[in-house]
Each structure stands twice: as C-alpha cells, then as structure tokens.
C-alpha cells in the first residue's frame, strides 16, 4: 500500500503556533510517516527547524521514530516554560 495516505491533526504551541498562525490543522501525509518526519516536513525549511521539540501522540509522549496512523492527533511541544 505504498500510495496510501493518512489524515493527521497537528497541534502546535508557543513559537511553533505563532509561525503556523493556527493552533490546530489537518494534514494529509504518506502512510509510514514518523512524528519526527512530520516536524521536518512542516518546519524543516523554516526558522524553527532546529528547535528541540518533544512529541505527544494522542496526548501521550512518544519517541521521534513513532509512526503516525490515520486519525491520529500529534502535538509538537517546544521546550516548556511553566512555573
């Protein structure tokens, strides 16, 4: 199924959100896309390409190599600043 695509909801925060201009968006991606590849695809050419982000898939932290599935929600988390 090499030509299959998946629909993913992307949530962003802080400087990533300001760059996108929206807090959430729907993306169509090739299947077998990893969470790190999604970041690269969306932000890889821009000013935040080197930002060390963490990944939350369906609201749980996951490693960068985790593969996306159709219907997933991926959140990209810049370094946190609470307190």
């Amino acid at each position: 199924m090499p030509n299959e695509t998946i629909q993913v909801t992307l949530k962003t925060f802080a400087q990533l959100r300001e760059l996108r201009g929206v807090d959430s968006e729907e993306l169509e991606l090739p299947s077998q896309t990893s969470v790190a590849q999604l970041f690269e695809r969306v932000f890889g050419e821009g000013p935040l390409a080197k930002l060390p982000v963490a990944f939350a898939l369906n609201h749980a932290l996951v490693p960068p190599t985790t593969l996306l599935s159709d219907g997933d929600t991926l959140a990209l988390l810049p370094p946190v600043g609470g307190g």
């Binding site: 949530k11 925060f13 802080a14 400087q15 959100r17 939350a56 609201h59 749980a60 932290l61 959140a75 988390l77 810049p78 370094p79 946190v80 600043g81 609470g82 307190g83």
Partner: protein, 146 residues
C-alpha cells in the same frame, strides 16, 4: 486537585484542599510574575498550556512523589493567558505528616513541574519586544544558591 485556569488563582482554595488532620505540616508555593528577566524590564507574561497532557503530567508527578512520600496531599494549579506583574502563575499546595517531608515534597514538585509540565511562557518586555522563554534545565539551584 489539578487545575489549569484562565482566571486568577484563588490560593486559599488549594491550601484548603490539602489541609487534613493527619498532617502536621502544610506549605503553599506560589510562582509570581517578576518585573524583570536578567534585569530587563518585563511588563507581563503570557502562558499557554496543553491541557490534555498537562493535567496527566501533574497526576504523574504526584504519583512519583507518593513513592517516597505516600501520605503527601497535593494540589497543583497553573494559570493560562496574560498575567500582570505580581499575579500568581502557579500554586503548589502540599500537606504531609511532618515538616521535613513537606519541604522535600514541595521542592520535588516545583522542580519536576518546571521540567515537564507542558506549559509555555512568553515574556513581554516594556519596550514592546516579546519572546517565548523555556525553563533552563540546568537552573535547579541547590541549597546556598540564590
């Protein structure tokens, strides 16, 4: 009690939530908006949160505390939105049977939350400039440092 709030935090609510006759010590930590960052005048802070993960992270960190302090009673709240100078950005209320555990628990919670809570802070300076500021992972001062 774990909360994110877009409006002013009622500190007493969190204090009262942890108070219990089994506990002889109770501490409330308040994070507040400071008027400068490294001497540069700050006008306000803006906080953004990821609620679907922030509340579970508060629960997880409390569960980790309970491994060493099983009787600790904990309430955590963090603000979102734009905060003026002096406003309370975060409340950590903790009650324990004895004072030593209370200091330890409060310190453990603030350091873990600073490192892991998915909340972001924008510093808005008086000159109109603004930037998103991450917590410094190495800025966990031990006793004796300011």
């Amino acid at each position: 009690m774990f909360e994110l709030s877009a409006t002013r935090l009622d500190v007493k609510r969190y204090r009262d939530a942890v108070e219990h006759h089994s506990c002889g010590a109770l501490m409330v930590f308040e994070g507040t908006v400071r008027n400068n960052f490294d001497g540069r005048p700050v006008r306000a802070l803006e906080y953004q949160a990821y609620p679907e993960l922030a509340l579970p992270v508060m629960e997880q960190i409390t569960a980790e505390l309970h491994r060493s302090h099983p009787k600790a009673r904990v309430a955590i709240a963090h603000r979102t939105g734009t905060l003026a100078l002096g406003e309370v950005s975060m409340v950590i209320a903790v009650a324990t049977p004895h004072r030593a555990g209370c200091y330890e628990a409060s310190r453990f919670l603030i350091e873990a939350l600073k490192e892991r809570l998915p909340v972001w802070k924008k510093e808005i300076f008086t000159d109109g400039d603004a930037h998103w500021k991450a917590n410094d992972p190495d800025a966990s001062p031990g006793p004796g440092s300011a």
